[in-house]
């Protein structure tokens, strides 16, 4: 399979990035600073990620709002044009087909942003629902997306892109960059303040250069993963996916029970009635050894769950994990992880592991 290349591919190679395959794309895993340094820079200063591998599916027309209300779990009626919303797309059995950010650009234009590997599936699902008065178009190839994240993201970026740097949290606005319109959204995936910029492909390298020119360091997908893990944020394919509902992942706040029907609602309602099992929890692990996905979680001799994601926490300097556990295993419980025969001591903790600076 030929990997897709980001519009910023040449810039990454010029920076000496180590590249990796992710969702069918060849993307930076880390730059010369390395994953740990990039992670810490995001928690203490600001970094920039190329996230052009995310999809952008433009859903437009007078029927777009109703189609998305049917397709997605959250209630767009709680927000308005110029706002962003985190939401899920479910299969009829309640499995999370994808987790998505919607940028509500203007009254009848929505930019739906799925994960890279799910974009084609989401385009198909939305087209199937579409009907009259709705167009569904994959516009991912027309733009790059640059995420600028960290407690100083806005203050540093304001030197070169003051309008974009001022975008409100979970808001999206059109801003001018040197004669080109770009979209700035107050969204991200690190647990820090920051924003994401959607930039027409032909200006992507210029914006990337401008962002780095103020001392914001580039960061790769390695740091993006350890950052989202510390922030307790789910990754599709690990905490969300086939056989895992929004409720299993502990994300009921993403579900509107009052907005009317949506795909997967019946299955979710039945699960809520019957009792949700297993439930996603955080594990704080003793020692530096990173817990890993698929490790068994034990309570004494009894297996009580499975790790879905785990790693070394660069800020806490010990292992952390997300795990699906029997609902009887509550916060505060002592458990153990089976690391290839060695037992790691762990405690069930509240999420997130790290709260935002400031």
């Amino acid at each position: 399979m030929t990997l897709k290349l980001s519009p910023l591919d040449a810039a990454h190679r010029a920076l000496g990035a180590k590249m990796t395959e992710f969702g069918g794309w060849d993307m930076p895993l880390n730059y010369s600073a390395g994953t740990l340094a990039e992670h810490r820079a995001c928690r203490t200063s600001a970094v920039a990620f190329d996230v052009s591998h995310l999809g952008t599916v433009r859903v437009a027309g007078p029927g777009a709002f109703d189609a998305l209300q049917r397709a997605l779990t959250n209630d767009l009626g709680k927000v308005e044009p110029g706002r962003c919303q985190y939401t899920h797309s479910l299969d009829v059995d309640g499995s999370v087909a994808d987790d998505i950010i919607v940028w509500w650009r203007s009254a009848e234009i929505f930019d739906v942003m799925p994960n890279a590997s799910n974009t084609d599936r989401i385009v198909g699902a939305l087209q199937a629902l579409g009907g009259d008065g709705v167009t569904v178009e994959d516009v991912g190839a027309t733009r790059a997306v640059i995420a600028v994240q960290g407690p100083q993201a806005r203050s540093m970026l304001s030197a070169v892109m003051p309008e974009a740097a001022a975008v409100g949290r979970f808001r999206c606005i059109d801003v001018d960059f040197d004669g080109t319109t770009i979209v700035a959204a107050g969204t991200g995936y690190t647990g820090e303040d920051g924003l994401e910029l959607a930039v027409p492909v032909d200006r992507a390298a210029d914006v990337w250069r401008a962002v780095l020119s103020v001392g914001i360091e580039p960061a790769g997908l390695g740091a993006r993963d350890t950052l989202r893990l510390e922030a307790g944020l789910p990754l599709h394919g690990h905490e969300l996916g086939a056989g895992i509902t929004t409720l299993n992942a502990g994300l009921e706040w993403v579900v509107s029970w009052t907005k009317g029907d949506f795909i997967g609602r019946d299955a979710l309602a039945a699960q809520k009635e019957a009792g949700v099992s297993p439930i996603l929890r955080g594990l704080s692990v003793e020692g530096k050894r990173p817990p890993r996905a698929d490790m068994a979680v034990m309570s004494g001799e009894q297996r009580v769950g499975t790790v879905s994601s785990g790693n070394f926490s660069p800020m806490l300097e010990h292992g952390i994990a997300l795990a699906f556990l029997d609902p009887g295993i509550e916060v505060g419980a002592d458990v153990a992880l089976d690391a290839r025969g060695t037992l790691l001591t762990a405690k069930v903790v509240d999420l997130p592991f790290i709260t935002k600076a400031g």
């Binding site: 895993l29 880390n30 390395g34 994953t35 740990l36 530096k288 050894r289 990173p290 790693n311 070394f312």
Partner: protein, 126 residues
């Protein structure tokens, strides 16, 4: 990548420095670069009897876990305990302070079967 000429190498990306009847063992610059940031090293125990090709240590990076294979038969006589608190030494100084252990070698002729620097560079395409 750095591949010092005075060392020998295994095809599993360990380096071996011959010190009389012993060998000092670590992972190569090529290996550390591919692993990414090392966050944990399961150092072997002093006194452990190891056999060439057997896994006797594990190195974990933010990316993955990798077995470290004994390059020769022998007994572990010294380990680098600094790696417990500073596993990043494998990245910053793989041929120096990032050494993993010293093995008292059972059969010194085994060293002749290891790669020299040119052979290792050919293996890694460096």
């Amino acid at each position: 990548m750095d591949t010092p000429a005075e060392l020998r190498y295994s095809s599993d990306h360990e380096w071996i420095r011959v010190e009389e009847s012993k060998v000092r063992v670590g992972i190569t610059d090529f290996a550390q670069d591919n692993l990414g940031d090392v966050v944990f090293v399961q150092i072997p125990e002093v006194g452990a009897v190891v056999k060439s090709g057997d896994s006797f240590s594990e190195v974990e990076s933010t990316k993955s876990v990798s077995d470290i294979y004994a390059p020769v038969d022998g007994t572990v006589v010294e380990v680098n305990e600094l790696l417990e608190s500073q596993p990043e030494l494998l990245n910053s100084d793989p041929y120096g302070d990032g050494w993993i252990c010293v093995i008292e070698i059972s059969d010194p002729t085994q060293v002749d079967g290891l790669l020299d620097a040119a052979g290792y560079q050919a293996l890694t395409g460096d």
